[in-house]
C-alpha cells in the first residue's frame, strides 16, 4: 500500500432510505396496497465525497440526523450506497453506535470469538489476544456472563476492545466515547494516540467536540446529508460551534469595532511561546496576547484592556494596563502591547478575545475591537472540564498518619 493513496475514498456517495408510512410487511397490507409498499424516499446522504489519508484520525461531525452514522455504515459496508463508491484500503474494523453486534445470550467470551471471526481473526490469533482484550475492556470475571446482563458501558468497552485488538488498518468508531466512564475514555484517548503512532487510520464520529479537536487531524462536517466542509478540526469546529468561521490570528476583519479613532488596534494575536500565531491552546499553556496599534492623535495616559468571554457570553477575565500600572504619559505613534500569560488557566471551550484602547475611565474609547479573536482551549494540565477557570490546584491524597500517597500534579 503506498502511503500516498488514501485509506478511505468516498466518491459521490448518496444513500436513500425508505420511510414507510405504514410499516406492515404482511400479506393483507400488500394486497390492499396493490402489491406495492407505500413509502417515501429520504436522502440520508447526498453526493458526499471525501478522502481520508492513511494514518490520519478523521472526525465526522454534524447535528443529529445529519447522516454521520449512515456514512460510517456505508464505509463499513453494512449499508450499500445507492450511488457512488466507497473504497477502503486495508483491513477494517468498526464499532458502530451502541456497541458491536453481540449475541445477547452468549457470554462475553463466546462473543469475543464470534466477533473476532467476523473480523477475520483465526481461533489461534484470538487465543493469543484474548487476555489483552478482556484486560483492556476491564471486564474481569464478567467475561463469562451473558452479555445481555452487561451494562451499556461494559457492552461498549468490550466491543471497542475487540475492534482495536484486531489491529485493523482502518478503524471506524461511532460515538463510543460517550458511554464509557472517565477512566475508559482516558484509556481510549491513549489508544487513539497509539493507533495514530502505529500509522493506522481512524474515522471517528463524535459529538464530543473537545475530543474531536484533541484527537483528529482532519474533520468533515455533514449537514442534512451533504458535506458542508472538510478541513483541519480547529477551524471547522469553530465554525460548527459558532456558525461562523473564526478569524485568523492576524485579524483584518471580523468582530464589530467602534471608537473615536485617534488610535487603532490594527491586529490582535494569540502567540505560542515560540512566537507562532495560534487559535488553539491547552489549559496550563504559556501564551502571549499581542496588540499592534497605530496612533494619529495625541493620546494621554492610554490604557489598553482585554476581555475574554466564554462562548456562552460570560466574561471570564478582563485585564488592563491601568490596574497593572503600566500607563505611559503619551501613546507613541505605533507599537505593540503584550500580555504574557504564564499559565492559561481556562477550561476547555471556545473563547472570544476583545481588545480596546482608551482613557483610564472608559469615557473616551479610541478603538474597541469586539470579539477580535476567537480561540479554543483544549484539555491540558491541570485536566479540568467544567466550571469557568481552573485554579491550577494540585491534588494530594493521604491516609491518616501515613506518608503522602499520591500526587497527581
Amino acid at each position: 500500500m503506498s502511503s500516498a493513496s488514501p485509506a478511505v475514498v468516498v466518491d459521490a456517495v448518496s444513500k436513500r432510505f425508505r420511510v414507510y408510512h405504514e410499516r406492515n410487511q404482511s400479506l393483507k397490507a400488500a394486497v390492499m396496497r396493490g402489491g406495492r409498499a407505500r413509502y417515501e424516499e429520504f436522502w440520508a446522504l447526498r453526493d458526499v465525497s471525501l478522502e481520508v489519508p492513511v494514518g490520519t484520525t478523521f472526525g465526522l461531525i454534524g447535528h443529529n440526523g445529519s447522516g454521520k452514522s449512515t456514512l460510517l455504515k456505508c464505509m463499513a459496508r453494512i449499508l450499500r450506497p445507492d450511488s457512488g463508491r466507497i473504497t477502503v484500503t486495508g483491513s477494517m474494523s468498526a464499532l458502530l453506535e451502541l456497541g458491536a453486534g453481540f449475541h445477547p445470550e452468549l457470554s462475553g467470551r463466546d462473543n469475543v470469538y464470534l466477533n473476532g471471526s467476523i473480523l477475520g481473526l483465526s481461533r489461534r490469533e484470538l487465543d493469543e489476544r484474548f487476555d489483552d482484550i478482556v484486560e483492556f475492556a476491564g471486564l474481569g470475571q464478567f467475561i463469562d456472563t451473558p452479555v445481555k446482563n452487561y451494562s451499556s458501558g461494559m457492552y461498549v468497552r468490550l466491543g471497542f476492545s475487540i475492534a482495536i485488538h484486531v489491529e485493523p488498518d482502518v478503524l471506524l468508531v461511532d460515538e463510543v466515547l460517550a458511554v464509557g466512564d472517565e477512566a475508559f475514555q482516558q484509556r481510549c484517548t491513549e489508544k487513539f494516540a497509539d493507533l495514530k503512532y502505529e500509522g493506522r487510520t481512524v474515522v471517528l464520529v463524535s459529538h464530543a467536540l473537545d475530543s474531536v479537536r484533541q484527537l483528529c487531524d482532519r474533520a468533515a462536517w455533514l449537514e442534512h446529508g451533504r458535506l458542508k466542509d472538510v478541513g483541519p478540526p480547529g477551524d471547522l469546529l469553530d465554525e460548527y460551534v459558532g456558525g461562523q468561521r473564526a478569524e485568523r490570528s492576524t485579524v483584518e476583519t471580523g468582530g464589530s469595532r467602534w471608537g473615536l479613532g485617534g488610535a487603532r488596534i490594527d491586529k490582535v494575536e494569540l502567540l505560542r511561546p515560540d512566537g507562532t500565531p495560534t487559535t488553539v491552546a491547552r489549559t496550563g499553556d504559556s501564551v502571549l496576547v499581542r496588540l499592534h496599534y497605530t496612533s494619529t492623535a495625541r493620546i494621554e495616559q492610554p490604557v489598553f484592556a482585554l476581555e475574554i468571554h466564554h462562548s456562552s457570553g460570560v466574561q471570564v477575565s478582563a485585564p488592563n494596563t491601568w490596574e497593572a500600572r503600566k500607563v505611559p504619559d503619551v501613546l507613541p505613534p505605533a507599537g505593540v502591547v503584550e500580555l504574557r500569560v504564564d499559565r492559561l488557566l481556562l477550561v476547555p471551550g471556545v473563547y472570544h478575545l476583545s481588545a480596546s484602547v482608551g482613557d483610564p475611565y472608559g469615557r473616551q474609547i479610541q478603538d474597541y475591537r469586539h470579539h477580535a479573536l476567537r480561540f479554543s482551549v483544549m484539555h491540558g494540565k491541570p485536566r479540568e472540564s467544567t466550571g469557568l477557570v481552573s485554579l491550577g490546584g494540585v491534588w494530594t491524597l493521604r491516609e491518616p498518619g501515613a506518608q503522602e500517597v499520591r500526587d497527581t500534579a
Binding site: 425508505r18 453494512i78 473480523l119 481473526l121
Partner: protein
Amino acid sequence: MSARGALAEISASKELLANLTLRELRGKYKRTALGWGWSLLNPLALMATYSLVFSVLLRIEPPPGKDGLTSYPLFLLCALLPWTFVSNTMTGAMESLLQNANLIKKTYFRREILVVATVLSFLVSFGTEMAVLALAFLIVGSMVVPWLPGVALLMALLTLFASGLALLLAVVNVYFRDARYLVGIALQLWFYASPILYPIAYVNENLPGWAASLYEANPMVGFVESFRDLLYVQQAPPLATVGYLVVVSAGVFALGAWCFSRLEGRLAEEL
C-alpha cells in the same frame, strides 16, 4: 473488489462459518437435560407414530426391499429423514437473518454465511440420523455399506437443493414477513405430495397418467425415491431421475443465490 480481497474474505469466512455453525448446534439443545439426545429422539418418535397410524391401523404395505425385506419403519425413515432435513432447513433459514439482526446491523460479513451455517447445522443432524439409519439396516441384516457413498452424494445434492431454498426464503422473509406462514402451509401440502408415508406405486395406481407425471415433477419425489433405491431396495436410482435432480438442484441453488444477492443490499435497514 480485488481478487485478493475476495480470497481473503472467503478464507476469513471459513472460520466464521465454523463458528456460527457450532453456535447453532450448541444453541439448539442448550439447557435441555437430554441435549443431543433430542436430535435422535425426535425422528424416532415420528417414526413410531407414523408406523402405528399408517402401518398398523391403515395397513399401508411397504413394497419389498432388498432380499424380501419389508419393514415399514425402515421404508418410512429412508424418506422421512431427508424430508425433515429439507423442511427444518427451510423453517430454520427463515429465522436465521431475523435472529441475527444485531450482527447484520453492526458488522460486515458475507450475509450468506448465516444461512449456510443454518443449513450446515441441520446437515450435521441429518448426517447423524442417516448414520443411525444405516446402522439399523445392518442390524436387520441388510448389507447397506456399499451403497453409502451413493447416499453421501445424494445427501450432498439434497443439501445444494435445500441451500437454494434456504437462501431464497431467508431473504424473502425479511421483506415479506408473511412468508413464514405461507411456507408453513406449503410444507404441509408438500409433505403429503411426496411419497413419504406411502409407496409411490399408490400414486400410479390411483391417478391418471398426466396427474402422475405432474406429481413426479416434484423434486422431493425424485429425492425420496432415490434414497429408497439406494438404502431400502439397494439398487442404483434411474439415471433420468438423478439427472433431473442435478438440474433442479443446480437451478434452485442458482435462483436462491441470485435472489439473495439481489436483495441482501438493504438487509441492514429492513431488519
